[in-house]
């Protein structure tokens, strides 16, 4: 049967994720060391898992309110205030989502009219551009580069804006580059955003994994920015809770109301056990100053330094990533494309990385290496990459 006439051509035209092909090859190589993952190597801390177990034992198996348990929303509001000086009303400005990914989708669907343009700094997470297309918008990628620490600049933003531009996606700290954006740069961007009356969707899922002295700064804390920012975060990266699929979206009530409408009809509510677990993560954090997060942060930071040092010692240009858990070294010196480099490295040395091109065309010449992997494995991986470079 020919299904093409049934399918939405806009969706059928979106290519499959570039990562898929690598996944298929790695599957056939069980001994490979993978630096291709995009999630923590920690298991969710036990007290958090235990809270979900208790909840099941207690028979908490019902729906929650659409926006999520109010006790969880209260904890989120407290956490955002304490960690990032963000103020959101738990009653009308926070919705608990099925991962931060749902938050991005809700925001795009509630905001976009057909043909609206969305500016997306690249390289960045693979879902933004397809998400924009699914919501009927037009993604407009902006190239960021290593010379500028992969930060979006006011000049490039300005240059990308047309009368149709409505939304800017701010993906910092960034997957795959590990870039963060500092207050000074944010302030310059703010002027362009206000001047052009844009709305910002700020995906701050990696905010806890920031290694700069300044720490993470949310764009929503800048003057006049809260009212035009949709703030997205979640528990996956900070609390090692990827598989729970639990995140949240915060926005001024009038905006949030419409995003909640989609969530309410499409999703109903996030899983109650995931909500209970998330609440436990924040409640314990309130008491012990987020010890879970601090322990993981320190461990990532050790490995981050080791990786940057390792790549530089091999003679590769490696910009110092100050966020997330990725390094994004340049492999331009080898003369190979990212795809070829990664495929050969995998086949010849059994180390899996992700080609930079999976995160936008401008990722050509780079590879993404995730350092959320055991130290001894990282050491072996670095040795093998070094061998690979010497064999070239």
């Amino acid at each position: 049967m020919d299904y093409s006439r049934y399918l939405n051509p806009a969706i059928a035209a979106v290519p499959k994720s570039g990562i898929r092909r690598f996944f298929d090859i790695v599957q056939t190589m069980p001994q490979a060391i993978s630096l291709g993952v995009g999630e923590p190597d920690f298991v969710t801390p036990f007290h958090i898992r235990n809270a979900a177990i208790d909840s099941l034992l207690d028979g908490e198996t019902q729906y929650t309110s659409n926006a999520g348990k109010i006790s969880l929303r209260n904890e989120i509001a407290y956490y955002l205030k304490r960690r990032y000086s963000l103020t959101y009303d738990p009653n009308s400005e926070i919705v608990v989502t099925v991962g931060a990914s749902e938050g991005i989708d809700l925001a795009l669907r509630a905001l976009l009219n057909p043909g609206d343009e969305v500016v997306v700094p690249e390289p960045s997470y693979v879902s933004y551009c397809p998400g924009v297309i699914f919501a009927g918008g037009v993604p407009v990628p902006i190239v960021t580069d290593a010379d500028n620490n992969f930060m979006l600049t006011a000049e490039t933003l300005k240059a990308a804006i047309t009368p149709k531009t409505k939304v800017l996606i701010m993906p910092y700290p960034n997957n795959p580059t590990g870039a963060v954006i500092d207050r000074e740069s944010l302030q310059k961007l703010r002027d362009v955003i206000l001047e052009n009356d844009l709305i910002v969707i700020s995906d701050e899922i990696y905010s806890e994994l920031t290694y700069s002295e300044e720490g993470h700064v949310s764009i929503a804390t800048l003057p006049e920015m809260r009212e035009r920012t949709v703030y997205i975060n979640g528990f996956s990266k900070a609390f090692a809770m990827t598989g729970w699929r639990i995140g949240y979206l915060c926005a001024p009530a009038a905006l949030l109301e419409n995003m909640l409408k989609i969530h309410q009809y499409a999703i109903m509510c996030a899983s109650i056990q995931a909500q209970v677990a998330a609440e436990e993560a924040l409640k314990r954090g309130r008491e012990d100053d987020y010890a879970d997060v601090r322990t993981m942060h320190q461990s990532y930071n050790h490995r981050r330094r080791l990786m940057v040092d390792g790549f530089r010692a091999m003679g590769l240009d490696c910009y110092e990533p100050l966020g997330a858990f990725y390094v994004f070294p340049s492999i331009q010196k080898t003369g190979l494309t990212s795809e070829v480099f990664c495929e050969r490295l995998l086949r010849e040395k059994g180390v899996a990385c992700v080609p930079g091109t999976a995160f936008g065309e401008c990722g050509e010449g780079f590879i993404r290496c995730c350092y959320a992997t055991a130290l001894d494995q990282l050491t072996v991986a670095l040795e093998k990459i070094d061998e690979f470079l010497q064999d070239l």
């Binding site: 994720s17 990562i19 690598f22 996944f23 790695v26 599957q27 490979a32 993978s34 291709g36 993952v37 995009g38 999630e39 190597d41 997470y125 693979v126 879902s127 997957n175 320190q298 050790h302 490995r303 330094r305 080791l306 040092d309 899996a352 992700v354 999976a358 130290l375 001894d376 050491t379």
Partner: protein
């Protein structure tokens, strides 16, 4: 203790064979600073030795471990210290803890055979002056020691490549 020393100790607890150069990179500190901290902690007795954690069940050598609760009569001026010192000198005794609760000292003991461990209790420990009673518990299996789980952990469950 300052934050940096704690950080160093945590790294060494994971792997005390980590080369100085690697510690220096991971902690973002000059090699000399790391060396000085180690030297200082060795001299002040913070670091007593660099020893492996061994799963003896895998070694294939006959060996018996036990925990012994010991009740004692504390001595004037010395409390439990004198009797604890007397006990920890035996080679069979691996650890000695002063405990609150129903008994006074808890010993972790080890001997090549059950018979030798029994002999230790009956002829060396119980006969000590000030030891008023003992209760011996044999270890059947060790699941976790020094924060390390002995059973093989499940393999990395994450998908090998994802966005």
């Amino acid at each position: 203790m300052d934050h940096m020393k704690l950080e160093l100790l945590q790294l060494l607890q994971q792997d005390c064979r980590t080369p100085l150069e690697k510690l220096s990179v991971m902690m973002n500190q000059p090699l000399e600073t790391i060396a000085e901290m180690l030297d200082d902690m060795e001299k002040t007795g913070v670091i007593l030795r660099y020893a492996p954690v061994i799963n003896w069940d895998r070694v294939g050598k006959e060996r018996v471990e036990g925990m012994i609760e010991v009740r004692t009569t504390p001595q004037r001026d010395e409390g439990f210290d004198a009797i604890a010192k007397r006990i920890y000198r035996f080679d069979e005794v691996k650890s000695v803890y002063l405990m609150s609760g129903a008994y006074d000292l808890l010993l972790h003991v080890e001997a090549p055979t059950l018979k030798e461990l029994a002999l230790f209790v009956s002829s060396k420990l119980s006969v000590l002056e000030n030891v008023t009673g003992t209760a011996t518990h044999f270890v059947l299996k060790c699941y976790k020691s020094d924060g390390i789980i002995f059973e093989p952990e499940p393999k990395d469950r994450r998908l090998a490549v994802n966005p």
